[in-house]
């Protein structure tokens, strides 16, 4: 029985495809990417229906199906295109099979439904899995990117590292920042870390508390923290709120903080004197 149905469907694939194309084309919705031309839509439809028939024919999920869905995912076709298409295929095929026989009894009706379901469902499952797998992948990549973006650690010189903080700091982000900070200090062997809060819009007691905790943890692992980028309005809020930041050095700008960091690591900036060079040159010319 099953084999017979399969043969009938394959034999009359042209009729089914025609009906299917009509149905799918009428369903074309506005939310498909506008870049998709009518030609592309039609050729994709044809390819899609071929892929469906190949898997019905071979009775398994084919590699063509995988390639096809992968390409659609890359091009940004919506998943609903595929599920709508397969549902249309199910309707058209069932319709076709049932209208072929003169009299339809319940048993036959049920077996047709079962049969077509057993063709369509694995394909739907496969496609949904691939799409959702792709979404999860994108999501996790974005999360990683966000994580890295939210608290980068930049080594600028041997033993000196800068951590610019940008955006609002909540408890969860503060924890993340602290973990990144401590791991980074170990990784870069940083003796001094400059925490730059220029990009933090609001410093309230909670944010200050997190910053103090981070600085203390940095000290525990054997490094030092300098808080830089304290704007006038932030200095005012900090003092007005009665927050004690005196336990570790603070500087108004990254530049000043960097100088302190150099002092702490026994270094200083030496200017190579260009003027002297010219005088030396002139002297040597005079001498000749």
């Amino acid at each position: 029985m099953d084999e017979k149905l399969r043969e009938i469907v394959l034999e009359h694939s042209d009729t089914i495809v025609k009906k299917w194309l009509v149905e799918v084309s009428s369903e074309r919705m506005n939310d498909y990417p506008s870049a998709i031309s009518n030609e592309l839509f039609e050729s994709t439809n044809r390819e899609f229906v071929n892929v469906i028939f190949t898997s019905v024919d071979q009775q398994e999920i084919t590699s063509e199906l995988g390639d096809f869905s992968e390409r659609l995912i890359k091009l940004g076709w919506p998943l609903s295109y595929l599920t709508d298409g397969l549902q249309a295929f199910r309707r058209v095929t069932i319709d076709f099979l049932l209208t072929r026989s003169e009299k339809v009894d319940t048993d036959q009706f049920a077996s047709v439904l079962d049969m077509v379901d057993s063709w369509v469902d694995p394909i739907i499952n496969q496609l949904v899995n691939e799409y959702s797998g792709n979404w999860e992948h994108t999501l996790s990549m974005q999360q990683t990117a966000l994580k890295e973006l939210s608290a980068p650690l930049i080594p600028v010189m041997d033993n000196i590292t800068i951590m610019p903080l940008v955006g609002t700091i909540d408890t969860e982000r503060a924890k993340l920042i602290m973990e990144n900070l401590l791991d980074g200090v170990i990784k870069h062997n940083a003796e001094v870390v400059l925490m730059d809060i220029t990009g933090v819009p609001v410093v309230d007691t909670m944010v200050a508390h997190h910053i103090i905790q981070a600085a203390e943890a940095v000290r525990l692992i054997g490094s030092q923290c300098i808080l830089v980028g304290i704007r006038p309005e932030i200095a005012q809020t900090i003092v007005n709120l009665g927050i004690d930041l005196r336990k570790f050095p603070t500087k108004s700008s990254l530049q000043k903080g960097f100088q302190t960091a150099l002092e702490l690591t026994n270094r200083k900036i030496v200017y190579t004197k260009k003027d002297d060079d010219i005088e030396n040159l002139l002297d040597s010319l005079d001498g000749e």
């Binding site: 999501l139 999360q143 969860e172 973990e179």
Partner: protein
């Protein structure tokens, strides 16, 4: 839904180490990161030490909590010791009757996400504390 309860008797000083090692393993298996593993192990250490110091003996149990939207570890510390007279006092930072740092119970509360304590002079003390695996934010 709770499952896999396992318990460690606290009778000797070395049991404190045993309890926190087991707790760390459980935390790792549940999926906590290294920092949370350290937090959980430390909390267990504090609870086990309290049992050893103040009640003499007791038990620490671990449960894996597996709910539809979150996972976590539940630690239950129970003893039949003399109980705590003034719970609000021991939850203050810096309060200690043993000459320690007084960071024990308030510290545990900060290390974990949930913290309940019941104590009376006849039945001893029972502390139940939970830490959740951080949720992925979508």
């Amino acid at each position: 839904m709770m499952n896999f309860q396992s318990c460690v008797d606290i009778k000797k000083e070395w049991d404190i180490v045993g309890a926190r090692q087991l707790g760390r393993e459980r935390a790792k298996a549940i999926g906590f990161g290294t920092v949370d593993q350290a937090r959980i192990a430390t909390a267990i250490s504090e609870l086990a030490r309290n049992i050893y110091l103040y009640a003499g003996s007791g038990v620490i149990c671990f449960e894996t909590i597996d709910e539809i939207d979150r996972k976590g570890i539940c630690i239950i510390a129970e003893d039949n010791g003399p109980g705590i007279h003034d719970i609000s006092k021991v939850m203050e930072d810096g309060f200690s009757t043993s000459g320690g740092l007084g960071a024990g119970l308030p510290g545990v509360k900060r290390l974990m996400d949930q913290f309940d304590i019941v104590s009376d002079q006849e039945q001893g003390t029972k502390i139940r504390t939970v830490k959740w695996v951080p949720q992925r934010r979508f």
